[in-house]
Amino acid sequence: MAMDSLSKEKFEELGTYIDSLPSKKGELIRVLHRAQGIFGYLPKEVQFFVARKMDVPTSKVYGVVTFYSYFSMTPKGEHNISVCLGTACYVRGAEPVLEEFKKQLGISCNETTADGKFSLNALRCVGACGLAPVVMIGDKVYGRVTKDMVKDILAEY
């Protein structure tokens, strides 16, 4: 595990945030959101740290992290590609688009390319169904994506 991604400063930042909460009761998910914002993901070192600071068993932290799809235990790529597989996108052909991303990047869903540049995942509905099928890279939304557009989209990064 690269130490720079788990630097002391980051732990201190998270620690300060947890200490600033008026009450720790019921705030575990809020803290994990913050932790993922700081570290980019939630490796076990971070989960141990959160458990100690929040005074809850690590098993509870792990249980919550693995329950919610928003939390990730592996680092994401520099550019995270989310292909919407909500129903509207599905019936308008999102599956072939996802397949094309997999083919071009040589990775499956929830994986990151070897150079750490792209990670790929499928999500359910970003609510922009008028633009279906939708792909999000970071905060940028691509609408009415077809298989043939995938190459050009990737070339932008």
Binding site: K25, I29, V126, G127
Partner: protein
């Protein structure tokens, strides 16, 4: 920012905002919903303002970025008031022309006007668009009309008047009574009477009670809650405060999906400005009533839409449901009495208080009064967000408002209720939509997602798609749902891959019934609905997969076979060169043949063929 300390002061703010609106002769509304924003509507606003600046028109013409207009198919949308001119698919570079031609020369920009799909004639304003004609907007009344970031605009449209009326002229019991009399039913899916929920929560004594807004819109293909929060966040804030007054609660929480960054931003902004104006916090409008709202983020779990699971998630735990009773109204957030309603439900409340229960009852059907917002999506011409009175038929929604099926294809089915709902077909098109009719037809209202499918959609594959979703989202707590959805998905996969047998169809049905009867929460109990409704309406399609090993819609890849028409094939060898598995054989300038035992059904040959000689079936 001045605090508003009384109803009188609230009316003054309203009068001032009305005056300001009157002074500005023309307003240009630009859609700032997620869809239109992704198509660069921010830039349109910027360019419009710059062009107005250049023409020295800024004091006369106002540019407002609003919430969603609902007509997402043709976004970005620009609407001009007072004449309601409706421009579609506007690009940032069109801004200068709109200002020059429309504002300065008073001539409409023909190329940007919406064209009727049948007559292809330009429609001069939104009042003449069939998309809007049959709609009636209560929950969406301000979406696409006001700037959600400016509280004065909400106040101008009677905002916070309902809260003022409750605090100064009605007792909490009278508020509950009004909501109860209106017949409003929960818009989140199950349709439980809202007034009854409030009444139960109001009767429990506790040192603290909570008002919760469920904005965990997880149904894929539904985006009404997001649009309401983006376009009119104050209507939810106001309704939550009214509910707080009615059930004697001083704390509110909104549980919202982390995947909705724009909605979160606008809601945070609304809560802050309501606080600054004394419309949240201590002594609201100078009365003894105090109420405040906090936001809690979800973390991506569909089951958290179920109210007990949602409350556990708000407490920082795994979002697993628990058995009811006790209902949240008795023991909810940290064991305190809690009222949970969905965003769209709250969006109706202020209007009911202002216009009365009888007015609300006069809209819709007897057992489902009011309107319902639907998210029209899929293979339909006008994808978007619509609001119609309950009792409107599916035909009116899909063909009159939705403009019919894309590319002139045949209507096959409409899926309502998301992963918990079912598919309705041609014969159900004239059914008036309300909570009870949809259940009677084997589907349900759900949160209002409406996905239209055409002849290219394979129904067993659609059922499989939904089961992939519920299987993945099953929290795993109860066996019927955890194991049952997995088994259902396995059976459907066998069928879609051509390995199905007749006994599997029987098993599908039996297992579905067992899951329905035994699962712990709504997610599991409704998970088999897509299977049962497609089995019921499209049994012949299942038979085709199982007996003939064919997919009539041509969607299940494993059941396809590709053929080359010897009469059309010129022997150019392009297909053979592109086949990744060397399954195509043939000499130059002679018709080629596909060996089906080697074919992996990737479709590369069909895509490459320049003579249309390859077909699938």
């Amino acid at each position: 920012m001045a605090r508003i300390n009384s109803c009188e002061e609230l009316c003054n703010v309203k009068a001032k905002a009305l005056e300001q609106q009157k002074n500005q002769k023309i307003t240009i509304l630009v859609c700032g919903g997620t869809g239109c924003k992704s198509s660069n509507s921010d830039m349109i606003v910027k360019n419009l303002r710059a062009a107005l600046e250049e023409e020295h028109l800024t004091d006369r013409v106002n540019v407002t970025m609003t919430g969603c207009f609902g007509f997402c198919e043709k976004g970005p949308i620009v609407k001009i008031l007072p004449d309601n001119t409706f421009y579609t698919e506007v690009k940032p570079e069109d801004a200068a022309e709109i200002v020059k031609q429309h504002i300065v020369n008073n001539e409409k920009v023909e190329k940007l006007l919406y064209k009727d799909q049948i007559t292809n004639e330009s429609i001069p304003d939104s009042k003449h668009m069939s998309f809007y004609k049959k709609q009636m907007r209560i929950a969406l009344r301000n979406c696409g009309y006001i700037d959600p970031a400016v509280i004065e605009q909400y106040i101008r449209e009677d905002g916070y008047q309902a809260l003022a009326k409750c605090l100064t002229t009605l007792t909490p019991e009278e508020v509950v009574g009004m909501v109860k009399a209106s017949g409003l039913r929960g818009r989140g899916g199950a349709g439980f009477p809202t007034g009854l929920k409030w009444e139960i929560a109001s009767k429990y004594d506790a040192d603290e009670k909570y008002v919760v807004c469920n904005a965990d819109e997880g149904d894929p293909g539904a985006f009404m809650d997001r649009s309401i929060l983006e376009g009119d966040p104050h209507c939810v804030v106001e309704a939550m405060a009214i509910c707080g007054y009615a059930i004697h609660a001083s704390k509110g929480r909104v549980y919202i999906r982390a995947e909705y960054p724009l909605a979160i931003k606008r809601l945070e902004n609304a809560i802050e400005s309501a606080r600054a104006h004394g419309l949240l916090g201590d002594h609201i409008l100078g009365t003894d009533f105090s109420f405040d709202i906090e936001i809690t983020f979800g973390a991506g779990a569909f089951v958290c839409g179920e109210e007990t699971a949602l409350l556990h998630s708000m407490e920082g735990s795994r979002g697993e449901p628990t058995t009811k009773p006790p209902f949240p109204a008795e023991s909810g957030f940290f064991g305190k009495p809690t009222n949970v309603n969905n965003v769209e439900t709250y969006a109706n409340v202020a209007q009911i208080i202002l216009k009365g229960a009888d007015w609300y009852r006069s809209i819709g059907t007897e057992k489902s009064p009011g309107t319902k917002v639907f998210a029209l999506a899929g293979k339909i011409n006008n994808v978007g967000l619509i609001e119609v009175p309950m009792g409107t038929t599916l035909r009116e929604v899909i063909f009159d408002i939705g403009g019919g099926i894309k590319n002139g294809k045949r209507f096959k089915a409409v899926q309502t209720g998301g992963p918990s709902g079912g598919c309705l077909t041609e014969k159900d098109l004239d059914t008036p939509i309300d909570f009870d009719n949809l259940v009677a037809k084997g589907s349900m209202m759900g949160s209002g997602g409406m996905i239209v499918m055409d002849e290219d959609s394979c129904m067993p594959a659609v059922a499989k798609f939904y089961l992939e979703f519920t299987q993945e989202e099953s929290c795993g707590k109860c066996t019927p749902c955890r194991v049952g959805t997995t088994r259902l998905l396995e059976l459907l996969t066998l069928i879609c891959e051509g390995k199905g047998e007749m006994k599997h169809l029987e098993e599908l049905k039996e297992l579905s019934e067992v899951i329905k009867d035994t699962a712990l929460c709504g997610l599991g109990q409704t998970a088999p609905n897509p299977v049962l409704s497609t089995l019921n309406a499209f049994y012949d399609e299942y038979l085709a997969h199982v007996v003939d090993k064919k997919c009539p819609a041509g969607a299940c890849r494993k059941l396809l076979s590709y053929r080359i028409d010897a009469n059309k094939c010129k022997g150019c060898t392009l297909c053979a060169r592109n086949c990744p598995n060397n399954a195509i054989e043939g000499k130059v300038k002679e018709p080629h043949v596909i060996h089906n035992d080697l074919c992996i059904k990737c479709g590369a040959c069909m895509e490459k063929c320049k003579f249309g000689a390859i077909s699938k079936g």
